[in-house]
């Protein structure tokens, strides 16, 4: 079993590529390079990043990248199709989403004002990921793009957010949740009643009333959420979508990769391959320095270990280590061209 697909094959045939990986491996830069590479190959590509540190904007030398797609192809020599970058504002996307699926406007405003909802939408990093998936649906519906590349926020459990939609749908079946939203005076089982009393004694009265209000509001959205969950899941599992793991050239991140691979399989999502970033293998001479030498050895070992774990249907791409920080669009263009000319 050896990976036999090329990264170009992937970029030419897919409609959605989700890049995942541990923090600090260069996921955002890699995602942007892939989108540019796709545009060099003639596909209209957009890269979506949920990067709160605005690293994409600084990597691209574009401080204006924001909620709507910003075209970057005019600055990429050789681009044969449109290429854009997009950084959705989580809170804004969330509000748009809530208004879109609300049965009526007053219900949307009610949930948007709930303090628990505000914690959910602002603080929870999963909101960013969920909203990114949301954004992808609207980009796909627009028909303006051939390929969407989604750069997920760094996370140790990068797979976790993919479970969120399904869990959200299951939630409506939960006995405890139904008990929370039951009309006053309705009978519930002794066990459920006890749990609710405990929750109240621990978290206080105010918290409980917010929770009841929040959960009731959620039920108003049940239909919209369920439809959405089905659509997102179908999109992610379709033959035109897949996941790409981005990693540093060291076996230290192997446990993270194995957990990711298992998580994807469990949820029937397809792993398209691995992109190893900051590799030294392309450099002419070796053994100039003990540290460099050791790094090259580790890189070779990692690549070999990955080859063993990938199938002919998957790809193993190498991106080069560079001399300095990438902070211009031209740098990304250079790397995108390098990716093809090996």
């Amino acid at each position: 079993m050896k990976p036999a697909r090329s990264i170009d094959e992937l970029l030419l045939t897919r409609e959605l590529i989700v890049t995942c990986g541990a923090g600090g491996v260069g996921k955002t830069t890699t995602s942007a390079i892939l989108a540019i590479r796709a545009a060099l190959l003639g596909r209209r590509a957009v890269v979506v990043t949920m990067d709160p540190a605005r690293r994409l904007a600084s990597a691209l030398g574009l401080e204006t990248v924001g909620h709507a797609p910003t075209r970057i192809d005019p600055l990429i020599p050789g681009a044969k199709a449109a290429c854009a970058a997009l950084m959705p504002e989580t809170t804004e996307t969330f509000a748009e989403f809530v208004r879109e699926i609300a049965p009526d406007p007053s219900k949307a405003e009610r949930i948007l004002k709930n303090p628990l909802f505000q914690i959910f939408s602002k603080e929870y990093s999963g909101a960013g990921e969920y909203m990114a998936l949301q954004k992808i649906l609207s980009l796909a519906r627009s028909g303006e793009w051939d390929l969407v590349i989604l750069d997920t926020p760094p996370s140790r459990n990068s797979i976790q957010f993919l479970r969120a939609p399904a869990l959200l749908a299951e939630l409506f079946e939960e006995r405890l949740v139904r008990a929370i939203v039951r009309p006053a005076g309705a009978l519930v089982s002794f066990g459920v009643d006890k749990i609710l009393k405990i929750l109240e004694s621990l978290a206080g009265n105010g918290f409980m009333s917010q929770l009841v209000d929040f959960t009731r509001s959620l039920f108003d959205f049940q239909e919209g959420i369920s439809r959405n969950v089905r659509e997102i899941t179908a999109k992610l599992r379709s033959a035109q979508s897949g996941f790409l793991w981005v990693t540093a050239p060291s076996d230290e991140l192997m446990p993270d990769f194995l957990a990711f691979q298992a998580g994807l399989a469990e949820q029937k999502f397809r792993l398209e391959g691995v992109a190893v970033n900051r590799t030294l293998g392309y450099l002419a001479e070796s053994e100039t320095d003990a540290v460099l030498h050791a790094l090259r050895e580790r890189e070779r070992d990692l690549l070999e270990a990955l080859r063993q774990r990938l199938s002919p249907e998957q790809c193993l791409a190498e991106l080069p280590e560079v001399s300095r920080d990438v902070h211009r669009l031209a740098d990304l263009g250079e790397l995108a061209r390098f990716l093809g000319g090996r």
């Binding site: 600090g24 929870y124 405890l176 405990i198 621990l202 050791a294 001399s323």
Partner: protein
């Protein structure tokens, strides 16, 4: 730098992803164990797939790889006084949902675990999640404190925040690499942490420094070099220029050398790193 670190009970080690927080926090814990014989030292990682979950002995240290469900279960037991009730509670779907979908809640439970266990040890060194996530870990405690009314959870959250804000009890170390983005992000993280807890002044550390010789050269290198020697030369030049980002802003920082990485499958030379730390502490 970092002179005051080690007298506090809790040391938070944070920074951008991939800068070596795990190795540095481990080395710090080892160093404390070595310089304070007889003291109980705990190194804490959060849901790190490289380690088995739970508490174990690790040489001179104790190591806790804290997991969400176990931590939640223990906390629920503590508050409810019954294991049966606690497990019914923690296994209900609403808990699973909150845990998966609202990492804010997950973070609250994880950092709460570290806070709970602190009384069993003399020093705790925490390998914090990457930048943004590290901030949400503290921010979620603040948010949930606001959402809770009056009750035991609110009291615990209050006490946690009081501990984290105390410079007598907590120290904060920010790790970066000698590259532009980690240095800039590290500095921003330090400022944001200090905005949350003004009295805990962050300490800074640059990890994996090649070897800075002479002043930074102004010339900009080709992005993609041809040979390894060329890469190394420009890395070293860039490094000096990058570290200047901190020096120019008056940031006091320590440095750790880039150690030769061991062959695949062999753990990082944490002991050696701990030895190099002593020079700074």
């Amino acid at each position: 730098m970092v002179k005051s670190v080690g007298h506090q009970k809790i040391i938070f080690v944070s920074g951008k992803g991939g800068v070596g927080k795990t190795a540095v926090s481990h080395a710090l814990a080892l160093r404390l164990a070595r310089t304070r014989p007889g003291k109980k030292i705990l190194w804490i990682t959060f849901e790190d797939p490289a380690f088995p979950p739970g508490l174990r002995r690790l040489g001179a240290l104790s190591h806790l790889n804290a997991g969400f469900l176990d931590s939640f279960d223990e906390y629920a037991q503590l508050k409810l006084g019954s294991a049966r009730l606690a497990s019914f509670f923690s296994q209900s779907k609403i808990m699973r949902f909150l845990a998966q979908v609202a990492p804010g809640f997950r973070d609250l439970v994880l950092i709460g675990k570290a806070w709970q266990i602190r009384s069993d040890y003399d020093h705790l060194v925490l390998d914090m999640p990457a930048t943004g996530h590290s901030l949400t870990m503290f921010q979620s405690t603040i948010n949930f404190r606001r959402a809770f009314g009056v009750g035991p959870l609110a009291r615990d959250a209050d006490q946690m925040l009081e501990t984290f804000a105390s410079p007598e009890q907590c120290a904060s170390v920010i790790v970066a690499l000698p590259e532009e983005t980690p240095l800039v992000e590290g500095l921003e993280l330090g400022q944001k942490l200090q905005a949350l807890f003004p009295d805990v002044v962050p300490q800074y550390m640059v990890n994996r420094v090649w070897q800075v010789e002479g002043p930074a050269a102004p010339a900009e290198a080709a992005l993609i070099p041809r040979a390894a020697a060329e890469l190394l030369a420009s890395k070293k030049r860039e490094e000096a220029r990058n570290i200047a980002l901190w020096a120019e802003r008056g940031v006091k920082y320590g440095q750790l050398p880039r150690l030769t990485p061991p062959p695949s499958g062999i753990p990082n030379p944490v002991l050696e790193l701990a030895g190099r730390l002593e020079a700074h502490l």
